[in-house]
């Protein structure tokens, strides 16, 4: 994925709509903060998730972090390679390290998310 085309949250997740399938992952900033990722708990396919509900858990050596869904939708696919290779997220967080795909997503919630430029601006305020 090209980071410039993604939507972002203040919790350092990214999401993108490709023909009605929304792919979700965590950003480079999140990965840098977490350090080496050692375990990912994925949701069940078919699960309906409301915005703000936890959708996955990403654990690193340092910490366990809940990932909250930035949109309402239904899980259509999970990246189960992460069961064996959780550090794929470290190596390729915008590509092979995606976490979940959703469908039937609330588009208004999606459209309200930050674009890449806004997210970069947000990061500057975080690092102060």
């Amino acid at each position: 994925m090209n980071p410039d085309t993604l939507k972002y949250t203040e919790e350092h997740e990214w999401i993108i709509n490709q023909d009605g399938i929304y792919t979700l992952g965590i950003t480079e900033y999140a990965v840098d903060e977490l350090g080496e990722i050692t375990f990912v708990e994925l949701p069940e396919v078919g699960k309906f998730i409301e915005r703000g509900e936890d959708i996955a858990i990403v654990e690193s050596v340092k910490a366990a972090n809940d990932i909250y869904s930035p949109v309402t939708g239904t899980v259509v696919e999970v990246n189960d390679i992460l069961d064996m290779e959780p550090d794929l997220i470290n190596r390729d967080c915008y590509g092979k390290g995606w976490i979940v795909k959703l469908k039937d997503v609330n588009e208004d919630e999606y459209n309200d998310l930050m674009d890449a430029r806004s997210y970069r601006g947000f990061l500057k305020t975080v690092d102060q």
Partner: protein
């Protein structure tokens, strides 16, 4: 205002990521926690531990005064030996866990942690005649790993070959070397004046088996051994008995809180710090409540992924009756199962191996 060790200017050469640890700017990692951890288990890692406290106590009277403040018998500590002990307050709570070393017959060095350093310094200065706080002018470099002796031999430390596990000596150049550490591997702690610290650090970095390591790997390595961390697993809210230090308590000596500890020991009714092991890669985490048979029974005080054991591990307090290897308890909001274990969780450490 963040404090830095004399070695801190060197961190940037190795892209160290610096974090605040009890007011000290120390490296969390250089290459990555897991890589540094694995390197210490297989070769040799070097840690800057200069933030720690060192106090020198000279003469029988002063050594006896110090011994009265800790749960161990430091008067009986033989020359050339180190002993793990704890400074305790009147209610039996642990002020700090520490290591006493005796490099000479009338001299003892107490090594303490960064967190409670000011309090420990004030306490020692009030109670131990002539105690000298050398923390601000002493650097501590830990060389840890199965190749630790070869590394130091390459720097001319051939004279430490005969040092056994938890032995200490002062070299002719004045440097104090203790065969100890916090990783479970063969290792040496080097205590040197600040002025010599950077050149020693640089000389170590020149050697190919050596990797600089940060607090992150130090934490995963010590957790795999079941060693507690001061201020986290070991606090004033816990007694040495609770902290799993029973074998380091010299009951024949006097120390603060002794009556509390005797009552606790005789009742058998207390929580004890125990290693925890997860059946999978998910880790218990600091602050997680521990439950057993539907009741809250304790808490997790350390938790991480164990790179050498390849599963989630931790330390936590459970009632003595539950501190049996194999007991299952549920940890945290998702009630994940973890098993009580005996230390160490990682059993293949080179710490006690003979040096050849």
């Amino acid at each position: 205002m963040m404090r830095y060790t004399p070695i801190a200017p060197e961190y940037a050469r190795h892209q160290g990521r610096v974090v605040d640890f009890h007011g000290w700017g120390l490296p969390l990692h250089f290459f990555g926690i897991i890589e540094e951890h694995a390197h210490v288990r297989s070769q040799a890692g070097v840690f800057d531990c200069s933030h720690m406290g060192e106090f020198v106590v000279r003469g029988d009277t002063a050594i006896a005064a110090l011994s009265d403040m800790v749960v161990g018998d430091l008067v009986a500590l033989p020359v050339g030996r180190c002993r793990y002990t704890a400074l305790v307050q009147d209610d039996g709570g642990i002020i700090d866990d520490c290591v006493a070393m005796k490099p000479a017959h009338d001299e003892l060095m107490l090594v303490t942690n960064a967190g409670p350093l000011h309090e420990v310094a004030a306490l020692l200065e009030a109670c131990v005649p002539g105690v000298e706080n050398i923390s601000h002018r002493t650097a501590k470099i830990d060389v840890q790993g199965p190749l630790a002796f070869q590394v130091l031999q390459a720097l001319g430390f051939d004279d430490i070959r005969e040092l056994g596990f938890w032995n200490v000596k002062r070299r002719e150049d004045g440097l104090i070397v203790a065969r100890a550490g916090y990783t479970g591997e063969l290792g040496y702690e080097l205590y040197t004046p600040n002025s010599a610290a950077v050149s020693l650090w640089r000389a170590l970095m020149e050697l190919s088996p050596v990797m600089p390591c940060g607090l992150g790997a130090r934490d995963t390595l010590r957790t795999e051994m079941g060693y507690p961390l001061s201020g986290q697993d070991v606090t004033k809210a816990r007694t040495p008995l609770e902290a799993g230090m029973e074998r380091f308590i010299a009951w024949h000596t006097e120390f603060p809180g002794k009556q509390t500890l005797l009552a606790q020991r005789d009742s058998g009714d207390y929580q004890v710090l125990t290693p925890l092991r997860s059946p999978d890669r998910r880790a218990p985490r600091f602050g997680y409540v521990l439950r057993h048979d539907g009741r809250d029974v304790g808490e997790v005080t350390s938790g991480t992924f164990g790179p050498s054991v390849q599963c989630g591990i931790g330390l936590g307090y459970v009632p003595l009756a539950l501190a049996q290897p194999g007991t299952s308890v549920q940890a945290g909001p998702r009630e994940q199962t973890v098993f009580v274990e005996k230390p160490p969780l990682y059993k293949d450490g080179s710490g006690r191996n003979p040096v050849t």
